[in-house]
């Protein structure tokens, strides 16, 4: 369904004052590390923004991303923006179902060909020709390829869509792949996280709606504004790391004092996300603050990164077995070398020709 109301008109209709709207734009600008001078540009564009068509494809996913984005107890400007976009296809949110839903998708694609925004959550299985996940008899793989063709840009929401996520974890029985693995001719923004932070999504959309371009991305395709810093650098518990004060178990003195969770497996240092600053549940808390180490959920292959409770500095293999095995091999090779050495030395000793005083002159 679409109408021609601009976002500005819609917000005013909903009772959002100009001031409230500008505050949102200022927050958005600062979250994306844009200078204050951009606030009015954001405000202008957003105000005039028409309703872009958004097709949301959910593939091999748990719906957690949608839950995160849409769960709000009070209406927020983010959710209103969300309302503003013409969400023409979304399994969880759309009213239609079955053929009607697929027909709606086809219509939206035809009418907005080349201009609609494709949002994907969930990984795409390719094993067995994609049979592991189908919608209306169409494999995820085929649907992605079809819809991506007419998309202006693709937003891969959640770690599954961005990097393969949980299904992609060892041994990856469904052959799960990310959007970027399969679509190479369209601009893709990865918004990873398991799930991603709501404000991150709205920030990305706001950017797109405002500037009609993708925000600056890092080499993993993530907006630098939200994924440019690692958790460790913004973590409020960093001073404890510096002082070498670590919690050793989840309920020891250190844990109770809120010490660094490095030893309990926190992947903060290698994780790039906005959790430490933007936090979750509208700024209530985030994993570390709640006493659990970061699991690195916005990073590729975080499920196979050696375990959530093993510190980054600890090798993930079985060191004792390795040592035992290598020791056994070492003893075997050593024994062989020893035999050779003894033999060579014995040979030299056996070949010893006694030196007399007549054997000293080389002439």
């Amino acid at each position: 369904m679409k109408d021609d109301m601009t976002l500005g008109e819609r917000l005013r209709q909903r009772g959002v004052s100009r001031r409230g709207f500008l505050k949102f734009c200022a927050t958005t600008a600062s979250m994306m590390a844009l200078p204050p001078s951009m606030i009015s540009a954001i405000a202008d564009s957003l105000q005039k923004a028409k309703r872009p068509s958004v097709i949301w494809l959910s593939f091999q996913e748990c719906t957690g991303c949608t839950e995160s984005l849409t769960r709000s107890h009070a209406p927020t400007v983010e959710s209103l923006i969300f309302d503003h976009i013409s969400l023409d296809y979304h399994h969880t949110l759309q009213a239609a179902s079955g053929d009607a839903a697929e027909h709606a998708r086809d219509e939206a694609m035809k009418q907005n060909w080349g201009k609609y925004l494709l949002v994907v959550d969930g990984s795409i299985p390719v094993a067995e020709n994609g049979a592991y996940s189908t919608i209306a008899g169409i494999t995820n793989l085929a649907m992605l390829q079809e819809v991506a063709e007419g998309a202006a840009a693709i937003v891969a929401v959640g770690t599954c869509a961005a990097y393969g996520g949980l299904p992609h974890a060892n041994p990856n029985p469904t052959g799960a792949k990310s959007v970027a693995d399969l679509i190479t001719d369209k601009p893709i923004i990865n918004v990873p996280g398991c799930p991603p932070i709501p404000t991150v999504i709205s920030g990305v959309l706001a950017h797109y709606l405002t500037f009609d371009t993708l925000p600056e991305l890092d080499d993993l395709g993530r907006p630098k504004a939200f994924y440019g810093q690692n958790i460790h650098d913004r973590c409020y518990r960093r001073p404890f790391y510096e002082r070498g004060e670590f919690a050793e178990t989840f309920d020891d003195e250190g844990a109770r004092k809120g010490w660094c969770l490095y030893k309990l497996g926190c992947k903060g240092p290698t994780t790039y996300n906005a959790c430490a600053t933007a936090k979750w549940n509208e700024g209530t808390s985030w994993p570390v603050e709640a006493g659990h180490g970061c699991i690195g959920c916005s990073e590729p292959n975080f499920w196979d990164a050696g375990g959530f409770y093993q510190a980054l500095s600890v090798p993930t293999g079985d060191a004792s077995n390795t040592i035992l095995g290598a020791a056994a091999a070492g003893v075997a090779v050593g024994a062989a070398a020893a035999v050779l050495n003894k033999r060579n030395k014995a040979k030299a000793a056996a070949a010893h020709e006694k030196v007399t005083v007549n054997d000293l002159n080389k002439d």
Binding site: V333, N341, A348, H352, K354, V355, T356, V357, L360, N361
Partner: protein
């Protein structure tokens, strides 16, 4: 019996490499501190005299033949085999610029016994025909004549006769069951006859029986210096056979450095079995006498004097305190060199260097180390307990026109012996 050859030399080195040597090469971190302990490097500034560098050919043989990694490198053509050229180049490093003084071994932070490795590598060099002329000659004379300086029994007998004439004392030959069998170095027989007299007088005062073997009076061991265990063993065997035949209690090694090493430490290992007698250095014997109250002296040397510690006796022999105990009996102004005792500096002529004319130049350069020690102290007399050191010290002192007499410790002790006992005086009168 076979002709010397490079292949034979390499074979000998292979044979010499044992677990200690392998651990030394495995541990060497190339810190270069051994050079700082070496007087030959110190006084010439020649980096090639760095002690661990002197055994580089042995290290290459060890790596290439006794380590898997070395064998792999060899098969990939990444290592240089030891060749005749290495023997040519290293001969002077192994013989001329090393007196086997052992200071490098004491310094090494990882505990490498570098001087022992140099002793071992000499086995290969000698077998390859790359030993110095002087040492080859000394060895020949030692084996064929009985002394490296060609001293024969008649010369010994002549000294014994002199002794009788000058002091009325006997030096019994081949006395069975004597407490002590005395060995003499050719140097002492030829140049320092006062040693024999000193021993005789001290033995008389202490009331001990002693003897000299007519078959094995020579203490020095050219085999040790040239680094040929086969020859060294033959020379030691002579002493062992004589001592065991006579059934003596203790064999005394005289004031000589390497002779002590030869008979006390290498001896049993060369012949492959423990001795049936004890071995002591003359200073150990004298100190025992002192401790037992058998050594009565009087008077004190007034001159400011110091002690040069012979390397083989003190650092490598462990006879550190004894010379000091003895000197304190007869000296009123005994001062120590700054580096004294086990850390003293070599006279620069040990380990065969003095028998090697080719080494003269580097030897005298190295002597500057001893000179600087003496200059710092400013003494009137230099005491030592090794005839070879004594010769070198005298030569060096003369070279630098220093006015400094060198005295043997045993001789000095004897000079201060209390007057002979009444019975002996009467005996003398009766002659």
């Amino acid at each position: 019996m076979s002709a010397p050859s490079v292949e034979k030399g390499i074979q000998f080195i292979r044979e010499q490499i044992d677990a200690p040597v392998a651990s030394f090469f495995s541990s060497c971190v190339h810190c270069g501190l051994c050079a700082e302990a070496c007087l030959f490097y110190g006084q010439t500034g020649e980096a090639k005299y760095t002690p661990i560098n002197k055994v580089e050919p042995m290290r290459r043989i060890w790596e290439q033949e006794y380590t898997l990694w070395g064998k792999i490198k060899s098969s990939l053509g990444l290592s240089r085999k030891v060749t005749e050229k290495d023997f040519e180049e290293w001969e002077t490093l192994v013989y001329d610029a090393c007196s086997l003084c052992g200071r490098c071994s004491l310094i090494c932070p990882v505990g490498n016994d570098i001087s022992d490795m140099i002793r071992k590598i000499r086995e290969g060099f000698a077998a390859a025909g790359y030993a110095p002329e002087g040492l080859i000659g000394a060895s020949k004379r030692a084996v064929e004549i009985g002394s490296p300086m060609g001293v024969k029994l008649p010369a010994v007998k002549a000294q014994i006769a002199h002794l009788k004439k000058d002091t009325g004392l006997d030096a019994p030959l081949d006395l069975k069951g004597a407490d002590y069998m005395v060995l003499l170095s050719s140097m002492e027989i030829m140049n320092f006859p006062e040693y024999l007299e000193a021993v005789a007088r001290i033995m008389r005062q202490a009331g001990k029986t002693w003897t000299i073997s007519s078959k094995a009076f020579e203490a020095t061991n050219a085999g040790i210096q040239i680094g040929v265990s086969d020859i060294a063993a033959e020379l030691v065997q002579r002493v062992v056979d004589a001592a065991e035949e006579l059934g003596v209690n203790t064999v005394i090694s005289p004031e000589c450095g390497h002779a002590f090493t030869a008979i006390r430490w290498e001896g049993p290992n060369l012949i492959g079995r423990p001795f049936k007698f004890k071995v002591q250095h003359i200073l150990e014997v004298l100190d025992d006498f002192r401790a037992e109250g058998l050594l009565k002296t009087e008077g004190l040397e007034e001159a400011k004097l110091t002690f040069h510690d012979p390397c083989q006796l003190v650092r490598k022999g462990g006879v550190v305190q004894q010379p000091r105990n003895l000197l304190n009996m007869v000296a009123s102004n005994f001062v120590e060199m700054r580096d004294h005792g086990a850390m003293n500096w070599c006279c620069s002529a040990g380990g065969g260097v003095s028998a090697n004319e080719r080494a003269d130049e580097v030897k005298f350069k190295a002597f500057n180390q001893k000179k600087s020690q003496l200059d710092e102290l400013g003494v009137d007399t230099l005491v030592t307990a090794c005839a070879n050191c004594r010769i070198m010290l005298e030569e060096g002192i003369e070279e630098h026109e220093m006015d400094l007499p060198v005295v043997g410790l045993t001789e000095m002790i004897a000079d201060h012996l209390v007057e002979e006992r009444v019975e002996d005086k009467a005996e003398d009168k009766n002659e």
